[in-house]
């Protein structure tokens, strides 16, 4: 006799632990593949996993096996024209001697590269592995006013609006079964007896039993369908909620000096930042501000692709950012991040204004403000002004330079790497 067992509902992913261990073991390789991927991928293509290639030698599990050489005899199937005593030239592959297949299976995986797919989630895990959002502690200490109601089981009293119908009816049913059990048993017996009596034509006992049945039925009916004891209410508890929404301001210079290539690099940087924030916050909004001599809030498409020419006044963007924060994103409710990308050009008189704006009105409300300068040339006035800002606000402000595509992830990594809580 055989047992047949349905195991389809058993736990999934029995191999998760082993898979995890494998990934941990080859972290170095995987991280390299991941950061390569970030720099090589097309810009819109961050939402998928990544293929990781590890050299076969590194993952192989060595065992003793025979190497080539020596003398061996092999039997093969499918002879067509050979007869005993034939001599065949050695060929490197395919021929009856060259690729002895029995050997191939013995020697294991050989030196093929080991290729596998990381899921999107794992990809991001590795990508942001040792990165952290700066200044989160500060926000937590400030305390915050937002709360969330969470379901926390059921209770026997509450307001009618929170009545849980399903639970109440369950309780009612249970009570009715419990209270009427005895009566129903008697009823069943009486009905059977009456059946018997009517078959035998015993009218007297039939009538007596009918009376009894009526009585029992009334007794059963008397048990109320719904009692106050049955009522169940959903219980909700108020939980303080860490502010879990973030807004990211992308500021970009679109003056004539910014060509498409520079914009692409800026976009990659923004994209990384966006993915990074998205992993930390339930809700992440983005505000795109572009500027030449005047700043304007635009949508993504326009932000990256429309062309403008003209001079550059950086402070216009900062002013606009400040206005938007005041109008829509109260610092009590939002974690605010700013990222500015530019090629470093600015109208000279404007740079001190920028510094003032940053120090006085923007840095106090944001979690972090990062400035990346995408240029291969020497720094100009803006960078020098910002250097002073960085000195006075080392926690909330940072600036870096990006010269080519390969620098992007490195700079990003540098900006957000975990700092010791000194």
């Amino acid at each position: 006799m055989s047992y047949i067992v349905d195991r389809r509902l058993n736990a999934k992913n029995k191999s998760t632990v082993n898979r995890r261990r494998f990934l941990d073991r080859y972290k170095k390789h995987i991280k390299r593949a991941v950061s390569d991927a970030v720099n090589n991928r097309s810009i819109t293509d961050m939402e998928r996993g990544e293929e990781v290639v590890i050299p076969g030698d590194d993952v192989s599990e060595p065992v003793f096996h025979h190497g080539s050489g020596g003398s061996r005899s092999i039997v093969h199937p499918g002879n067509k024209e050979f007869v005993k005593g034939d001599r065949i030239k050695r060929s490197d592959g395919g021929g009856p001697g060259g690729g002895g297949a029995g050997e191939a299976s013995n020697s294991g995986e050989g030196v093929d590269e080991f290729v596998f797919q990381l899921s999107h989630e794992e990809f991001l895990d590795f990508l942001f592995d040792d990165l952290a959002l700066p200044n989160l502690t500060k926000r937590a200490l400030k305390g915050n006013a937002s709360y969330k109601y969470e379901h926390a089981g059921f209770t026997t009293d509450g307001v009618p609006a929170k009545l849980s119908v399903l639970r109440s009816l369950k309780a009612s049913k249970a009570r009715r079964i419990a209270l009427t059990g005895e009566a129903r048993k008697l009823l069943k017996a009486a009905e059977a007896k009456r059946e018997e009596a009517s078959n035998q034509g015993d009218e007297v006992s039939e009538r007596r039993l009918a009376l009894e049945i009526e009585l029992l039925e009334r007794r059963i009916k008397r048990v109320p369908f719904l009692d106050t004891n049955d009522l169940r209410y959903n219980l909700h508890q108020k939980r303080p909620l860490p502010t879990s929404q973030a807004v990211m301001f992308c500021l970009m210079d679109v003056s004539g000096s910014m060509d498409q290539q520079i914009k692409d690099m800026a976009k990659r940087f923004y994209l990384l930042l966006y993915m990074f924030l998205k992993r930390h916050y339930e809700r992440t909004e983005i505000v795109f501000i572009r500027h030449h001599t005047v700043a304007k809030e635009v949508d993504e498409q326009e932000f990256f692709y429309s062309r403008e020419t003209g001079g550059t006044v950086v402070s216009s963007a900062l002013t606009l950012m400040q206005e938007i924060v005041e109008a829509r994103y109260s610092p009590n409710e939002w974690n605010i991040y700013g990222a500015q990308a530019s090629d470093g050009d600015n109208w000279n008189d404007d740079s001190p204004t920028c510094r003032k704006l940053l120090e006085e009105s923007i840095l106090p409300v944001v979690q972090y403000f990062a400035y990346v300068e995408i240029t291969k040339r020497n720094h100009q006035a803006l960078w020098q002004e910002y250097e002073q800002v960085a000195e006075s606000h080392p926690d909330t402000f940072a600036q870096r330079q990006i010269a080519e595509v390969g620098d992007i992830f490195a700079v990003f990594h540098d900006l957000f790497q975990k700092r010791d809580a000194a």
Binding site: S2, R7, K14, G67, S73, V75, P77, F82, G97, Q117
Partner: protein, 509 residues
């Protein structure tokens, strides 16, 4: 045939649990009428991802955790996702009750095929074959694996995952050298194992006496010099390490032991691939045909079955791009089928080659051919000229001292015996795996250990030798040397840790 009028068990390709049960009963009834002796069956229906899990843990239903299983899983997963590889239809575990997995996606025909193949074919092989009977204990294996899993998990908790992983890595590298081929093992039992292990740990605790360590180290002098340790060369490297490695902690020895026991469990499978698969294939073919003869399955069922059956039996020729050695299913099935033919309608050739078998009752000949052989002896004994002709087998000699490869024998009258011998030799474990044994341990001096590789037909060791030696060194804890010898002359030496070149030169001189 006799009761053709019975109506088919199912019509259509969807399976239900009732249908599986009915099929199992019918197939079981027929198997019994053929005299197949099996363990009880436990049929488990699983999803394809669970099948992948089972795959990744090399078919162990409960496996300890190790990254290499994760690697396996990642590989299987990837190949499956890309459609490079279909999943096997079945996995069967040598245990009592014998566990077979059926995949949810299979059609009813495939489920019936798997039931016949695994639950009755493989199952009866596990129960009957002498290698399985001596080397594995079907009733204890699941318990033992469970014990192993728990034990290794507890070691990880106590000593850290990396520590345990390192020991496991090293043991896995030597896993093929965990069996005494010429001694009979004791059956394993998880209960005993646990008790024994607890006793041993307690003994160590009780005898741990710090005073001993303060005594001057002079006791070893009484060893007389002629005594070589070990007295005889040891082929079971893992056992040797478990018992003799000087520096291993008790828990590390226990892990060595676990890997050795698991290796022992898989040892018969490595030696009976052709026989085992051939036997199972032969029986699913016979059993399902019988079902058809009794009118229990439809023509459509048979067509689907036959197409899968023949797909399994494809044997591409040596010059075919898909050629990957002999297909064990095809070879095994052909030998068993031909044995049946020899019994039922022998030709003159068969009478000459198999005088004992020709015309005998196939229901006694076949089980005997399954019971008392392993691949090597099975082929040597039962590969018939007809099968050699059908496969068009030919044997070649590839000697690196010769310019060309020589065809030694083909499937003709004067070649049959030699082809058969060569093919059987190919399934000899010694031909497949290098023969490496522990020959000397320097007990008095630096405790260095010497391994000897006796070359099989001048075949040298492969490239990974040095890395395996590192693993051996990690377990042994003292210098390890591997000497590769041919006709009692040392051809190459490998050292771990590597000696600097001067010393090595002196060594070679």
């Amino acid at each position: 045939m006799s009761n053709r009028q019975r109506s088919p068990l199912c019509d259509g390709s969807d399976w239900t649990f009732e249908l599986i049960e009915t099929f199992d009963q019918e197939i079981g009834r027929i198997a019994e009428s053929f005299g197949l002796d099996t363990y009880r069956n436990q049929i488990e229906v699983i999803r394809s991802d669970q099948m992948m899990d089972a795959y990744a843990s090399i078919g162990m239903p409960v496996g300890y955790n190790h990254w290499s299983f994760g690697k396996q899983f990642v590989e299987v997963d990837r190949n499956y996702q890309r459609g490079v590889m279909g999943l096997a239809y079945e996995i069967v575990i040598n245990s009592d009750p014998c566990i077979s997995y059926l995949m949810e996606e299979n059609s009813m025909t495939m489920q019936a095929l798997v039931i016949a193949h695994a639950c009755y074919g493989h199952n009866s092989f596990f129960k009957g074959n002498y290698l399985f009977r001596t080397w594995t204990d079907a009733t204890a294996i699941i318990d033992y694996l469970l014990f192993a899993k728990k034990y290794i998990a507890s070691c990880e908790e106590r000593h850290g995952v990396t520590e345990v992983e390192e020991v496991l890595d090293s043991c896995h590298a030597l896993m093929n050298y965990g069996v005494d081929r010429y001694k009979r093992p004791y059956p394993i039992s998880a209960e005993q194992e646990k008790r024994r292990q607890a006793e041993r740990a307690e003994y160590v605790q009780r005898n741990l006496n710090d005073l001993w360590r303060t005594l001057p180290q002079a006791q070893s002098i009484h060893c007389d010099d002629e005594n070589v340790f070990p007295e005889e060369p040891q082929e079971n490297l893992l056992y040797f390490i478990e018992k003799n490695a000087p520096l291993l902690e008790p828990w590390q020895r226990e892990i060595v032991r676990i890997v050795r026991k698991v290796a022992q469990y898989f040892y018969p499978q490595r030696q009976t691939q052709v026989m085992n698969e051939g036997w199972a294939t032969f029986w699913h073919y016979t059993l399902l045909n019988q079902l058809y003869d009794e009118g229990l399955v439809t023509d459509g069922f048979m067509l689907e079955f036959l197409s899968s059956h023949s797909a399994v039996l494809i044997q591409p020729g040596f010059d075919h791009p898909g050629y990957n050695g002999m297909n064990p299913y095809a070879l095994g099935f052909a030998i068993y089928s031909d044995l049946k033919r020899i019994c039922q309608s022998p030709t003159d050739e068969d009478r000459e080659w198999f005088p004992d078998i020709a015309g005998a009752d196939w229901l006694t000949v076949l089980p005997a051919a399954m019971r008392d052989f392993k691949d090597e002896s099975f082929i040597q004994q039962f590969l018939s000229p007809k099968v050699m002709r059908d496969f068009r087998l030919f044997g070649i000699l590839d000697d690196d001292k010769e310019q060309e490869i020589e065809v030694k024998a083909i499937h003709d009258y004067c070649g049959y015996r030699q082809v058969r011998e060569l093919l059987a030799g190919q399934y000899n474990l010694g031909d497949r795996e290098p023969n490496i044994q522990v020959v000397r341990v320097n007990v008095e001096g630096d405790r260095s250990l010497t391994l000897e590789h006796t070359q099989h037909r001048r075949r040298p060791l492969g490239k990974t030798t040095d890395s395996v030696l590192k693993h051996f060194h990690r377990l042994w804890g003292f210098p390890v040397t591997l000497e590769s010898t041919w006709q009692d002359e040392v051809v190459t030496r490998h050292h771990c840790p590597e000696k600097d070149s001067k010393e090595a030169d002196k060594d070679a001189a």
